[in-house]
Subunit: 243 residues, 2 copies
């Protein structure tokens, strides 16, 4: 793990790093020493590790929760090179949708493919970041919706360090089997008028989660319109389970 | 309105009252003067105005929110006399369920009948309580699940003083029309494994609500097993909309 730059503002220390070919960013409270909860955040499709909503969330987790937050670019996103195979699939999927196929199963299949790379990558990121003195081997949370849910479900299912997860804006098509293996508390976000994920599939993914404690939070609006008060709820959720 | 007794404990003043034939209870912060938000709480079927979960909720609304809270016995509940018509219907419904009819539509029909009495009663209670100096004509919230939802939906639809409502554990059969007339923010509780209200009917009632801001909170468990952290969420919801 190589730290490539470091800045601080408003009480938040930001360290850009690379781990092998993975570019990432770590946010911690300014001046923090010792072990603390760590939240890994997955970004949305077409976004990257420092997308505005990722930054907003990370700053609040750090300043209000005292957490460390880490985000990395998904392959073919942000500072990472294109992946020829993904481009080819995206082009094919576009053609299939134009020809009348449903979008949701195509998205789900694509996310399952990408997860084969991101699950081991994210586990390696946890290994590396938890070796830092100002992060340490504390409890881990995962936050990810949309693409971050499609990649997050297999990650959370595979990674025993994760003690609580916020997921959502995703459906059950590709990941019901992984979802059933998740047993940690989950807060699951649904947009009631989601134009990308059919409501029944969202509810089916929530239903498939093996967790004894899982809370579905559904709000009106489209895929990108999760209301701001859900971030307050997320903070309390992580504070309750990682604090 | 006649105050029939008054006690105080742990920072909460409790005043029992009657308004005509309606027995009620009002909780306010000890020593409170002046106008404050008022939450009307509807109790569950077979319960009463001072049922343990009503008391728990009321004390937290008063001590943490600074609200006034009022609850009254529904006809044929608590300190109120039996209603022959209700007894007759209950007996008939029991027989119909034994004969194989579905329970949910029978419950919904019964609640619609009771609401014809409780809607005007509860409006009169608001009138009376808001004339008290330590309550005043502040913003009003409504909290009610199960029977409290069946009676609450037509009440919230009819009463413009209500600015926010917590509802749930109820289905759409009897009240979809009233639900569509509700436009205030709603937090809506669903128990994912509710043995009394079919999941699809719960979701249909949430769907029917006319509110631009409405949040569905679904948790695993049976009808009576709403997790304790939902009370924290309810408090913040009312603080946001009535505060």
């Amino acid at each position: 793990m190589h730290i490539t730059s470091e800045t601080s503002s408003g009480g938040v220390r930001e360290q850009l790093f690379t781990l092998g070919e993975i570019p990432g960013v770590l946010w911690t409270p300014e001046g923090a020493v010792g072990t603390r909860p760590l939240v890994l955040m997955g970004h949305g499709g077409g976004q990257h590790k420092k997308a505005p909503d990722v930054l907003t969330r990370a700053r609040r987790f750090v300043t209000e929760g005292g957490f460390a937050v880490v985000a990395v670019d998904v392959p073919a996103h942000g500072d990472r090179p294109k992946v020829e195979e993904y481009d080819r699939i995206a082009t094919e999927n576009q053609a299939r949708v134009t020809a009348g196929e449903e979008l949701a199963p195509l998205i789900a299949g694509f996310q399952a493919l990408v997860a084969r790379r991101t699950v081991p990558e994210w586990r390696a990121v946890l290994d590396a970041v938890q070796r830092l003195e100002h992060v340490g081997a504390g409890p881990v949370g995962y936050w990810g919706v949309s693409l971050g849910c499609g990649l997050g479900v297999p990650f959370v299912a595979a990674e025993p360090r994760v003690r609580a997860a916020v997921l959502g804006l995703g459906g059950a098509l590709a990941s019901a089997g992984d979802a059933a293996r998740i047993t940690v508390p989950v807060e699951f976000l649904v947009q009631w008028d989601d134009e990308r994920v059919p409501r029944a599939q969202s509810l089916a993914l929530f239903d498939a989660l093996g967790s004894a404690e899982k809370a579905l939070h559904a709000n009106p609006g489209r895929h990108g319109e999760v209301p701001a008060f859900e971030l307050d709820s997320t903070l309390r959720f992580f504070a309750r389970h990682l604090g």
